[in-house]
Symmetry: C2
DNA sequence: CGCGTCGTTGAAGCCGCTCAATAGATGTGG
DNA sequence: CCACATCTATTGAGCGGCTTCAACGACGCG
């Protein structure tokens, strides 16, 4: 409630999926014109939320699922002992809330890490439309399947990689995602803090900082506060897969 | 091929979901009688597979999804540098293969870690039935949602817990799952090797062995080869949540 | 300008890994 | 039934990568 008055069209809550540039990444993908009409009937666009604002909280009843429209959102969960783990960073066009379907309660919290907007879809309406439009049902399953695969990869990264590999994989993954969104794959802004990166990768903030510095010293990346430039992608890739076995085979890096 | 001649009904490939004791855990859950008939038309039951046999392999085209019927199956994936990560142990009544839906290609491999049987469901048929039976579609989404939550918890465990906590969480999780299946929650057999446990939790086999020994020395569990007895569940729970913050607060364990 | 937050860098310690030896279990063939 | 080979698990000793602890630097904002 502290954000200044907006004169731009942020407050147009009704929104057209048909006209949305994220259409091909988002929920409407693969729907025909009438399918999109059905979605547009139920979608609501949020006003901008500020850094730190929650979109939903673990434990909330599942009312809506959400599509991030602009900005970055982080998903996180707390365990019994109070530790919290960031499970992913969500960029425009991506859907969140699907993990709450089983228990009808959100299992994770979604927090904006910079100014963000999103679209809400009442889940019960989605569910009704699914019964009539198999394409939407299929798209939902594809999205959940994709999330499963993304989590598999995070498990592999956290479980089997050392600090250098984790950071390299993280940067390459961001690069690919920015590229998908139509931005530069070699130069981008980290919307998350070092603390968030460390938490996500199972490291400490100091280690993240040290690895960034080392990669920069080696001329592989350039990093200035939040701006990252990938200067030598091949080298970054080889850092990302220079696993223990490789070291064993060559005897060194 | 070394197992003795079976006179029991393992080779009856047609099988009734209606009569299956796993019905309430498995794919048919929530379906009415006619819905189950539809499933029974397409399901095929496997002959027993042996320890080490693959049910499907990462990269295989997605033809079927599978329900484990008996035994234990592990899911695992390889990365570019050859490291492989076990992503989960699958018990009877659980569905595997859903992560392949997005790309129509299996993203992980499923390997029996002891003699196992399973049911196959052609995915295209499942998909067709979903169009007519919203309950099945909902059940599939619930199952995928549940898998997302399970992976979230694994990420938290691998990323934020120390060796003792990981093992305690692992044992408590197995205990709960055996209980769900109608077995004892306090005494059960580990169907997986120490190596598999270590891989799954992001540890080494030696560390797993040491933690088991320590927990036994402390009288919290009893472990004899693969048989585990939980002797002091409360203590095991407190090991599982005795996180770094707890140590900071109390100054010791 | 002073303060708080965030990020960087250094020094020291610890947890889990690596390496190695041994024990126990399982399987095979004579 | 035992000798032998193989595989799995346990235990110890030493090492190393990441964390912890601490100090400092860089912005941003009042």
């Amino acid at each position: 409630m502290t954000h200044p008055a907006q004169t731009i069209d942020f407050h147009k809550f009704k929104v057209s999926c048909k006209a949305c540039s994220l259409q091909e990444l988002c929920l409407p993908r693969g729907l025909d014109s009438s399918g999109m009409d059905r979605l547009e009937e139920i979608v609501k666009r949020s006003r901008p939320v500020q850094r730190g604002d929650l979109i939903f909280r673990a434990g909330d009843k599942l009312i809506n699922i959400y599509a991030v429209r602009s900005g970055t959102v982080k998903l996180s969960m707390l365990d019994e002992s109070g530790a919290d783990q960031i499970l992913g960073f969500i960029f425009p066009g991506e859907i969140i809330g699907l993990d709450g379907i089983d228990k009808q309660v959100h299992q994770v919290s979604a927090t904006a890490i910079e100014v963000a907007t999103y679209c809400s879809f009442p889940f019960s309406s989605i569910n009704n439309i699914c019964k009539q439009i198999p394409d939407l049902q299929m798209q939902l399953m594809r999205l959940m399947s994709r999330q499963l695969t993304a989590e598999n990869e995070l498990i592999l990264t956290i479980g089997k990689k050392n600090a250098d590999e984790k950071i390299a994989i993280f940067l390459l993954s961001l690069s690919a995602r920015f590229h998908t969104l139509g931005f530069s794959a070699s130069e981008f802004k980290l919307s998350m803090s070092r603390q968030d990166i460390a938490n996500y990768l199972g490291l400490t903030i100091e280690t993240v900082s040290r690895v960034f510095s080392r990669l920069q010293r080696d001329g592989i990346i350039k990093i200035d506060r939040k701006m990252v430039t990938i200067q030598d992608r091949d080298a970054l890739v080889s850092v990302s897969i220079s696993c223990q076995t490789a070291k064993k085979l060559t005897g060194h890096d």
